[in-house]
Subunit: 339 residues, 2 copies
């Protein structure tokens, strides 16, 4: 298969290097990483299995290389290319561009042993950061705003600049936790609040992702055992935890993604919260924070050994509170192992 890639993670997967201005071209046994002069030194040091070409006009250079190889068909992912860049690429060209959505993501759905090790380390670093964050909140977080707590989460997750983040962390208090994609507000954390934290970091470019919802009190922990003073909240919490634990225990390689989704959804449905579980059970995690497999009620994807994805059921009562518990799992020897 011959192809040309534009997405940074797709390019990195092929040759262990990418930049914000790069193309990767694979034509038969030849491969090229094309980037501009700013990245020449790093590219030459790091690229594996491809020739480094430095250019001021990446697309024009790619077109010349393609012409030389005399290939006739090239795959592209139509999600990676803007109309503008694709017009430039395909103009006055005899190549047939075959549009193959997500073809790089499809290649990346089964993780290698090395990738599993890296993802496991990313998850471990993420867990440690949650622990540090709980210490910091106990020490100085009560009375602080979601803005300030989000900033603390960023500082601790990144180890004060050492790691990149998988995404902007969500730190949401009480009714703000009822929004699955809450943005920070001026609300301040008080003892007795519900606190939801969804955060991850990147280790060797691979993402971690984790969510905990806790009862805010001195010396709290981001563990899954939480005691809330409100019975209503406790019932929702216990339901989410049961769904989370059940799915991790029962999922097997060979099942379809929609059957994994049903493992959490059935429990939440039966407890009467069905309409408050407004998203899918999980998503794959790797170089991208959201990738295949998607654990949704519509997906027929077969779960296989080597896949890494999240299990993250939730219950969101608008205007009141939200609960989500999320862990990353890897499929190993047919079963899910929490990373």
């Amino acid at each position: 298969m011959n192809y040309i890639l534009k997405d940074e993670n797709a390019i990195y997967y092929e040759c262990r290097f990418s930049s914000d201005n790069a193309l990767y071209l694979r034509c038969g046994s030849d491969a090229y990483l094309i980037t501009d002069g700013r990245y020449a030194t790093e590219a030459r040091e790091r690229v594996v299995g491809a020739e480094v070409i430095i250019s001021k006009d990446l697309i024009t250079t790619a077109k010349k290389l393609i012409k030389k190889t005399k290939i006739k068909k090239l795959h592209i992912d139509p999600k990676e290319w803007s109309l503008y860049n694709f017009s430039k690429l395909s103009k006055k060209s005899d190549i047939i561009y075959k549009r193959s959505p997500d073809f790089s993501h499809k290649k990346r759905i089964i993780k290698s042993d090395i990738e599993l090790e890296i993802l496991s380390e990313a998850a471990k670093l993420g867990r440690k950061a949650f622990k540090r964050l709980s210490n910091e909140i106990t020490e100085s977080g009560f009375g602080e705003s979601e803005f300030a707590l989000t900033h603390s989460a960023k500082s601790i997750l990144s180890k004060y600049g050492k790691y990149e983040l998988s995404f902007d962390p969500i730190v949401a208090i009480n009714d703000n936790s009822a929004k699955p994609h809450a943005l920070p507000t001026d609300s301040r954390l008080e003892a007795g609040d519900i606190l939801l934290v969804d955060a991850g970091l990147k280790y060797k470019r691979y993402c971690s992702d984790r969510t905990r919802t806790i009862f805010a009190q001195k010396d709290f922990r981001f563990g899954t055992h939480q005691k809330f003073t409100s019975k209503q909240i406790q019932k929702a919490y216990d339901t989410v935890l049961k769904a989370h634990d059940h799915a991790i225990k029962k999922v097997r390689s060979g099942m379809r993604a929609k059957d994994v989704d049903a493992l959490t959804r059935d429990i939440i449905d039966r407890a009467g919260y069905g309409k408050y579980f407004v998203h899918s059970t999980g998503h794959g995690v790797g170089l991208d924070i959201h990738e295949m497999p998607y654990i949704s009620s519509k997906s027929n994807t077969r779960i296989k050994d080597g896949m890494v994805y999240t299990i993250e059921p939730g219950i969101y009562i608008p205007g009141k509170f939200g609960i989500r518990i999320e862990d990353m799992v890897a499929m190993i020897d047919g079963e899910a192992v929490v990373l």
Copy 2:
């Protein structure tokens, strides 16, 4: 002109709201902001001059609205649309999609009085942050790595989570400052080093952007008067400062952007550093950190009152050091005013 927008800043400019999943459609006197249920409350509170439509499938909803209006031609910016999304939009449709690159940016090139006020405040907050950063570095920054200093810059620029950043700040020491887009390293700041800081924050969504290069010593300031111990560095520094000051003093509305570029480039060329000034003199700043006008040697754009852009000449001696001095200016009554 009828059009459909996908870019967040382009959408925000039209209706004072955007989300990471939104479309803006303008058909004659009718305008629609289409987004999903997660953003319903905020959209209804904030959108100005457009009807809010909530949808699970934005493009399909847009197609239905377009069909109802019976218009025949719709402008899009081909840089905003992926091949994938555009295929979905244009499939089984009789509309003629007119590809107009940068048409939203072109509308936004002259800032209104309100925008000028906001940009001025953004620049002021950015300057204050530089001052705080110099205090923090004097107190505890010597001996710290570029990673840690970059993190400090992020914390201070964002006021610990209150503001978003215009971009990831560049904090580069000695030879790393020779890379115009330096990434942080483990290098540690010592007294006597060259330190380059390029950073900005967003105020009411508008960006600030500023660069200073300083001689690192206790109680240093991010002012433009700097004394280096090395004569070679001082000569390059004085050349960049002269180019920067000269351009700001001499630029007039009515000139072409390439003539503004020549104001800095000629001075650097004449001092013998021409080949070390490897980028353009500046770029427009607004909702986007890089927008029109581009102050490059190839641009025929006429500079006009109300434009806001950077003046940022630089000299980069590979493997040794880099100097850049950058300020934002607004064209007012024919002349450049530093924001």
